[in-house]
Amino acid sequence: MTVQAIPQNAAPNHELPDLIWPEKSGDIPDWIYTDPRVYELEQKRIFQGATWNYVGLEVEIPKRGDFIRSYVGSVPVIVVRDLREQVRVFENRCAHRGAEFCKSYRGNSRSFVCPYHHWTYDLTGKLAGVPFRNGVDGKGGYPEDFNLSDHNLRSLNVTVLGGAIFASFSQDMPSLEDYLGPELYGEFTTIFSGRKLKMLGIHRNVLQGNWKLYQENLKDPYHATLLHTYLTTFGLFVAGNKTGIVADKDGRHSALLNAKPEGRPDNDASKAEIRSFKAAMQLADPSILEFNKEFDSPWTSSAITIWPNLILIRQLNILSLRMIVPQGPNEFMLVWTAFGYEDDSPELEQHRLRQNNIFGPGGFLGIDDNEALRFVQDGIKRSLPRHGVASLGKDVEPMDTVITDRAIRSMYKHYREVMGL
């Protein structure tokens, strides 16, 4: 059973004629963050449409029968390694009466049994058996024409790249390589090169904001030098750093690239604009910001957004994924996965763990962003409607400035096409 994919160039939206996108370039209407009809349409046209959605890592399900809970958009799914070692993704919804039957974060099983009426599925999602199919003593039971194969779990299209698992409700998808485009594929495979990964752990987090604000946040280098005083104070990122932005041809995905200068940025002319810069501060334990160069890349950080549900971050020696799970217009879950490589030395693993203090819902930067997004959602949902402004920079200019909103604008250009808005 498959869901019909919505083509990339979907027809204009006639169901929401009252929603009119502002004329001015860079203006973003409030209702995309708050209107429940927009939210529902996003689920259909984006998350259940022609997109690859990150659902987990192969290293989370190394053995046959291993499974994890995950999501595609708001839909709960199970990611499982079947008996032939193939990775499968199916809806976490019993085909019988709709129960979300798997309630564990992870586990290992030979089959999935819905606890309600014991319908049993094999690891490929096929319905393997139902109790009392023929009733008892010739009475009751399912009708003659009842076919087990009509009631399999809804199975998603799956692809795996370098250990990262993606799923799609569309069966007609380009390869992930083509979906990402050459630049983003390059950034992605710098991290997911096929080298065996090691899970360090997961932060599970609910944010009080619209899910798109999170994509915007990672396409917004402007805020990084202003909101994140920790970055500027300790020299990780200042406006004068060597930087770049790359995007795919559709403008959906992007990567913000940055090369941290050696030492502290006391001579950076751009600091004068930044109120948050604290010139005199040194870390009591500077080892946390040490950088062990481990990739053949000129960039010390790469913040990659993959449409629609993944942020992939490489910051110094932090490797981290953030999966976006929308939960209504005003809220989303964020599942942060920190990882390293199987062949990391114990020292490097410790270093990654220490450095991970920067991110997550208790992190030096994580707190800033989570709070800022909440401020935005509070403002938008409680005030009179008014357009947001994302007009920094030009759409066509060299890719080497951070004082630009171009990646946000290109995302919304694509969004409007798919949504017909």
């Binding site: 997961i202 987090n205 009591a284 763990l353 203090n357 997550g360 208790g362």
Partner: protein, 169 residues
């Protein structure tokens, strides 16, 4: 966590220890709830280990922490970051510590456990539960008879973090 030697103390010593540890919890909670974050590192030894970790990660053997400090430098840097570099809405926090149990004492180190809850209150919002968890502590007896934490592992059941945890647990 490195366990202290199993209990070699008599019942009276253990009762005394528990009273001292309960006093410690009171002071620790009072200082954090008052909001004087730069005093927080003073509750730890110079070589202390501090971890705030989701129960889910802890039980799956995954070491990622919500907060991790190894050594006094990292305590001071977190305190500084909270006070001077992080951006967050103003809030009150309130720690509640209960069911204190001393699990071992070897003359210099005492291991102990306790349950904790933290309530958080933001402007124009009702108070909510921020964390429910368990402390697994290792105290080091100081020459003057006082206690400092050599290890504190805060293992929280409230795995889904609502927005963020700003102050230490």
């Amino acid at each position: 966590m490195q366990a202290a030697a199993p209990n070699v103390a008599d019942k009276a010593t253990l009762r005394e220890l528990r009273a001292a540890i309960e006093d410690f919890h009171c002071d620790y909670a009072a200082e954090l709830d008052r909001g004087d974050i730069e005093k927080w590192p003073n509750f730890f030894t110079d070589d202390a280990l501090y971890r705030v970790i989701a129960r889910d990660n802890h039980e799956a053997g995954m070491p990622l922490c919500l907060m991790l400090c190894q050594g006094m430098g990292m305590f001071k840097d977190r305190a500084y970051a909270i006070k001077h570099t992080e951006m967050y809405a103003p809030r009150y926090v309130q720690h509640h510590v209960s069911l204190v149990r001393v699990t071992g004492f070897d003359g210099t180190h005492a291991t102990a456990e306790a349950n904790y809850t933290i309530l958080e209150t933001l402007v124009d919002e009702p108070t909510k539960l921020l964390q429910a968890g368990r402390y697994m502590d290792k105290f080091r007896l100081q020459p003057d008879g006082s206690l400092l934490l050599a290890e504190r592992h805060c293992i929280f059941d409230s795995v889904i973090v609502s927005n963020c945890v700003v102050f230490p647990v």
